[in-house]
């Protein structure tokens, strides 16, 4: 069997798998009856519909011809991994190291996602954004964001 639309093929797989996983999960909760639906009633209903729809998408991707096979194309691994890493580091660092350290770190990491990386530009960007964030979020909006590393404050 030949895949006629690559994007739809993987979309179909995604919907079907998520549907099945949630349907299996729903069996842990009480179904109740139509007259008194339990916590598992609506999730099971939805996940079965999702799995069926996924199946139809999958079936169509194998039978209906598309122009050029609708390929997914190359995956931008570098931006993907760098951005995901940047967000995660931000989450780990902010409560511990505070904004003054975390913001420049995030700017430097995320700048690696782009095509060109020039230390000078990135450094200026990091300083400007740190001051700007402090002005807006801490001084202006008075949000409770840790500013300095906890070991310094204590």
């Amino acid at each position: 069997m030949k895949i006629k639309s690559e994007r739809d093929f993987w979309s179909g797989i995604m919907f079907t798998v998520v549907g099945i996983v949630f349907a299996v999960g729903a069996t842990n909760y009480s179904m109740g009856a139509s007259a008194r639906p339990g916590p598992g009633y609506f999730p099971l209903l939805l996940s079965i519909i999702l799995a069926i729809l996924g199946g139809i998408v999958l079936f169509k991707s194998l039978t209906i011809e598309t122009e050029g096979g609708d390929p997914i194309g190359s995956i931008a691994w570098r931006p993907l991994l760098v951005i995901v890493l940047g967000i995660t580091v931000f989450g780990v660092a902010l409560p511990r190291l505070g904004m003054v350290v975390t913001v420049p770190v995030l700017i430097v990491i995320s700048s690696f996602a782009g095509d060109e990386f020039k230390w000078k530009g990135v450094a200026v960007n990091a300083v400007v954004l740190t001051v700007f964030s402090w002005l807006i979020f801490v001084a202006g909006l008075k949000l409770t964001i840790p500013l300095w590393p906890t070991f310094l404050v204590n």
């Binding site: 994007r7 739809d8 979309s11 995604m14 919907f15 998520v18 949630f22 999960g25 909760y29 009480s30 139509s34 007259a35 008194r36 639906p37 916590p39 598992g40 009633y41 609506f42 999730p43 939805l46 996940s47 519909i49 999702l50 729809l53 996924g54 139809i56 998408v57 997914i72 194309g73 190359s74 995956i75 931008a76 570098r78 931006p79 993907l80 951005i83 995901v84 967000i87 995660t88 931000f90 989450g91 902010l94 913001v103 995030l106 700017i107 995320s110 700048s111 996602a113 782009g114 095509d115 060109e116 960007n125 954004l129 964030s133 979020f137 909006l141 008075k142 949000l143 409770t144 964001i145």
Partner: protein, 503 residues
């Protein structure tokens, strides 16, 4: 007349110095984020939510509303000048607007967008003022059946007019509804799909999904594209004023866009995005004047129609939120959150319990639109300056603001980690051409739909026909079925595909 006294009350509230200031602040911020690609009203309002604890409810909501419709104005500027829609609702504006800019007619394009939006904003304000009271009356007659059927209609409406594959859009809605099941069941108190992670028992925040899928997913997709030379038409915005012929061409499009946008905005699931797509399709179907520029080559109707529609839709999408308490899109869901923070339960009772807030908010929208025309037409030069900032400085800044926005929402690192996951998921959706908007809508409406479905079934003792026996509910469901049937008709299906392929 009631309408006049109500509006008088509203303008009295809107014209206080404090409220004018917050409306202005919201409009400036809205234009700013509208101009910046990748930073949308959802991220901005999420960032500002924690700060409104110290404000009164009325100025807080006036400011947040200003951000939303202000972004509609700003988004068109980038779409016209650099072919990058600053907001998703300006995607279609870029098609003809950018072509006009390339022909040295950026000024008239910007003027058509700005004046069209202003007209639509005025009409939208009047429509809210006129239709909110009767709809509120109707809303008191709504039982769980009607609420459920109305949400079905909204979800159906959202996919029918969306671009791309209908089947995949429906699947994305169901996926959104399914993800919304990760929570604590409101009726029995059972934690569902939480894997004993305490943060998950409250459910995934929709801001987390919105930022991950729209904010970060878009950044990754942008960076993955080959760096292209972006042409910025900054020097060529000289003559702002459109020609007589431009006016003649544009005003019927503005009228059509405004009416279409106003109607679609009221639908749950509607709003600015849907309205602009539908208006562009409609303009293309209208007959051409002899000698008129073709669509896609710089037709002014292709700018005026969608821009009026998205602003009208942005205004009238306040109606389901204000009268029924149903958020028709992510921004309105945040507005509901803001009202809850200020101790106001959204729903039909707001109009009678908080008339100052209700009418003040509506009147402020008209004031805000006036401010926006001034901000965006005579002062266009300031915003153009912003467009010359290279993307390599912008995307780390957007990443930072989204991260801060997610963190400050609950002061919780877990939300930040989840956002990282959804950033990857968002890129996956982009690669598979699955649209994020229907997913988010399903996710927002999921818990409300379940609650109303279960309540309706409890009341009817498990009889599903209850949805068809009650006339209001039946009418809404029939409307939804008709919509699906219409799109399934072969002739329309073909036209719909053609309309979007060219986009």
């Amino acid at each position: 007349m009631d309408l006049i006294t109500n509006l008088m009350l509203g303008f009295g509230v809107a014209f206080t110095a404090q409220n004018l200031l917050y409306a202005f602040f919201g409009c400036v911020l809205g234009t700013l984020i509208g101009v910046l690609p990748g930073l949308g009203p959802v991220a901005t309002i999420a960032m500002l939510l924690p700060s409104i604890y110290s404000l009164d409810a009325t100025p807080a909501l006036i400011m947040l509303a200003g951000i939303y419709y202000g972004a509609q104005y700003g988004g068109s500027t980038t779409a016209i000048l650099i072919n990058v829609p600053g907001e998703s609702s300006s995607v279609v504006t870029a098609i003809d607007g950018y072509q006009m800019a390339r022909q040295g007619r950026a000024g008239p394009a910007l003027a058509a967008a700005g004046l069209g939006s202003f007209f639509a904003g005025c009409v939208g304000t009047i429509i809210i003022a006129a239709f909110a009271p009767p709809l509120t009356e109707l809303a008191f007659k709504f039982g769980p059946q009607e609420y459920f059927s109305l949400m079905v209609l909204g979800l159906v409406g959202a996919v029918v007019l969306a671009s791309g594959s209908l089947l995949k859009a429906i699947s994305m809605i169901i996926l959104g509804l399914t993800l919304a099941q990760i929570n604590t069941d409101v009726i029995s108190g059972t934690a569902r799909y939480s894997f004993d992670i305490p943060e998950l028992t409250d459910g995934i925040g929709f801001v987390v999904i919105a930022m991950g899928v729209f904010g970060f997913g878009e950044i990754i997709a942008n960076l993955g594209m080959p760096a292209e030379h972006r042409e910025v038409f900054t020097n060529e915005v000289k003559g702002l004023w459109p020609t007589k012929q431009d006016f003649k061409d544009a005003w019927p499009a503005v009228l059509r866009g405004t009416s279409l946008g106003s109607v679609l905005g009221v639908l749950p699931g509607g709003g600015a995005l849907l309205a602009s797509f539908a208006a562009y399709t409609l303009e293309k179907k209208m007959s051409m004047r002899p000698g008129e520029v073709a669509f896609g080559k710089g037709n002014i109707r292709g700018v005026a129609g969608p821009e009026s529609a998205n602003n009208a839709g942005a205004q009238t999408s306040f109606i389901p939120m204000l009268t029924l308490g149903i958020p028709p899109n992510a921004v309105m869901a945040l507005m509901v959150g803001a009202m809850t923070i200020k101790g106001i339960q959204p729903g039909p009772q707001v109009m009678t319990s908080n008339p100052q807030l209700f009418w003040g908010l509506i009147a402020s929208m008209w004031v805000g639109n006036l401010m926006l025309v001034i901000l965006n037409l005579p002062l266009i030069g300031i915003w153009i300056k912003l467009l010359t900032v290279p993307y390599r400085f912008l995307f780390p800044a957007i990443t930072l603001f989204c991260c801060i926005g997610v963190y400050t929402l609950n002061n919780n690192q877990f939300d930040v980690y989840l956002t990282a996951v959804f950033a990857a998921v968002g890129y996956l959706f982009y690669k598979l051409s699955c649209e994020g908007a229907p997913l988010l809508l399903g996710f927002i409406l999921g818990p409300m739909m379940e609650e109303n479905l279960r309540r309706a079934l409890l009341l009817s003792r498990g009889d599903w026909s209850t949805f068809m026996i009650r006339p209001l509910s039946a009418g809404l469901l029939i409307a939804a079925a008709l919509m699906v049937a219409t799109v399934m008709l072969p002739s329309i299906k073909k036209k719909r595909e053609v309309a979007f392929v060219e986009d």
